[in-house]
């Protein structure tokens, strides 16, 4: 009976609605759906979203690993506070993240850095909301890492750079890739923070999620559903790849 109730709940909440999106995208035929996705405005939004999200994910790969390293291996005053507030972007509502960034980097910026309504603003907003992913996947692995290996390598005369490259990094790679993938999947769907900061100019600063929102508002459900289906497929491919990666890591380790 429990199984039936849970199945019913998840079907009506998640499965049927998501199925409806895919179904709607081809309700005028697959070619009509494809036509919607490849219309100039939608295609521009999708390209922009994918390009910035990929850049943001890669930047997270580097910065997230550095931050995780500093949190695990370095000691300094106030580390506990940094450790606690690193998760703030996950806890903060996305629209609040937008307001927060706008207050310092918007038109009334006290630092005279006004990035509002530019592609830079989209990048900064996405960096903000995806900040914890790589940090939180790499940190536990780094904590568990056996330091005897590093000590052995050092005693054999390996330079710190060599140790980092040949011993530490290979152990971190699966976690780093997982964090990067999750950040990418999150970035392509982000709405709240971006819509507030980017100005949403078609062909220039309009991302896919905003484009979908505008199509819903202008009563073009087929176009909105078609573009949504593309986002869904990309996110599923990323999640599937991460699942594979996890099994590979478990298998290898």
């Amino acid at each position: 009976m429990g199984l039936g109730l849970v199945t019913l709940y998840l079907s009506f909440l998640i499965l049927i609605p998501l199925g409806a999106v895919v179904w709607k995208s081809q309700s005028d035929g697959w070619s009509a759906g494809w036509h919607q996705v490849t219309s100039p405005e939608a295609a521009a939004a999708l390209k922009l979203t994918l390009a910035i999200s990929a850049g943001v994910a890669l930047f997270n790969l580097v910065m997230g690993t550095i931050i995780a390293w500093v949190l695990v291996r370095d000691e300094f005053a106030g580390k506990g506070i940094v450790e606690l507030f690193i998760d703030l972007p996950f806890a903060l509502p996305t629209i609040v993240a937008g307001v927060v960034l706008l207050s310092l980097y918007g038109p009334r910026s006290p630092a005279h850095v006004d990035i509002a309504f530019t592609r830079t603003a989209i990048t900064v907003a996405l960096l903000f909301v995806t900040l914890p992913f790589v940090v939180r996947t790499v940190q536990p692995v780094l904590l568990e890492l056996d330091r005897d290996m590093e000590a052995a390598a050092a005693s054999l005369g390996a330079s710190p750079f060599l140790i980092a490259r040949r011993i530490i990094l290979p152990n971190l790679v699966p976690a780093m890739l997982t964090g990067t993938g999750l950040a990418f999947a999150r970035a392509i769907g982000e709405f709240g923070s971006v819509s507030l900061l980017s100005g949403n100019l078609p062909f220039h600063t309009e991302v896919s999620a905003v484009n979908i929102y505008n199509q819903i508002q202008s009563d073009n459900p087929v176009g909105a559903a078609a573009q949504s289906t593309v986002l869904l497929v990309i996110a599923f491919v990323v999640l599937f790849a991460l699942d594979r990666l996890k099994r590979w890591g478990v298998h290898r380790g």
Partner: protein, 284 residues
Amino acid sequence: MASASGLSDGTVAVRGNRRPVARYGLRFVALGYLLVLLAAPVAMVFYRAFQHGLGPIWSALTTSEARSAIEVTLIVAISAVVLNTLFGVGTALLLVRRRFPGRHFLDVLVDLPQAVSPIVVGLALILVYGKFGFFGSWIERNGLKIIFSLPGMVLATAFVSLPLVVRSVAPVLAELGDEQEQAARTLGASSWQTFRRITLPSIRDALAYGVVLSLARSLGEYGAVTVVSGHVIGKTLTLTLFIDERLQNFDQPAAYSAAVLLAIIAMGSLLISRRFRTRSRSVA
């Protein structure tokens, strides 16, 4: 383990002394980045909100529009959290304790909401429960209203926060094993008694952790809710939508006040959830 940590402490000291440049360099990069991206903007919004004292914030958050937004936010978030707690615990129990065809599928299904854009969530619900959706005519015939009304907002919020309770409770359940539950069963306890007296006490902290996370997520949901709310001031405007609406009317002080209120809630939930997580881990 003791010898390992002893050894590594030595190496860190040696490396630290030999390469202070690399160490301070990395620290500078990491903290500098966090300062520019995270700390400074958050501090700025607090400064903007509090620069004229508490008075303006209080009056901005006690207008009838703001009060109704707070009320709507609480109704929607609490309903979504209740749904997710009941079905989250149920789902976690099924995933961990039972073997049935389609179990792996259910496992994947639970994680789906994390990969779906909030806007797509809103669209998906409209396509099913909206006026022209699958169940639209049935809903209308029965005099109900889901989309552009509170039930739709609850569904949207429950959708996005679905995985949180399941994913906090499931690992603890798996770690506990079911010997005690089976013992209770053989002694004649009903399944409800077993759940209430054996299972629930042992997952209490993990459940509390999941509930706090899901409440925080629910109070702050924006994208999915904005699609299905219809933005009726005083009726279907949550706090996040109120922020957006105030910004569009160039009422910065009210927007900043509501943003700071939500930021404080987020920070509080971070602190509380951290405590429950440590406790639930130490139990397991």
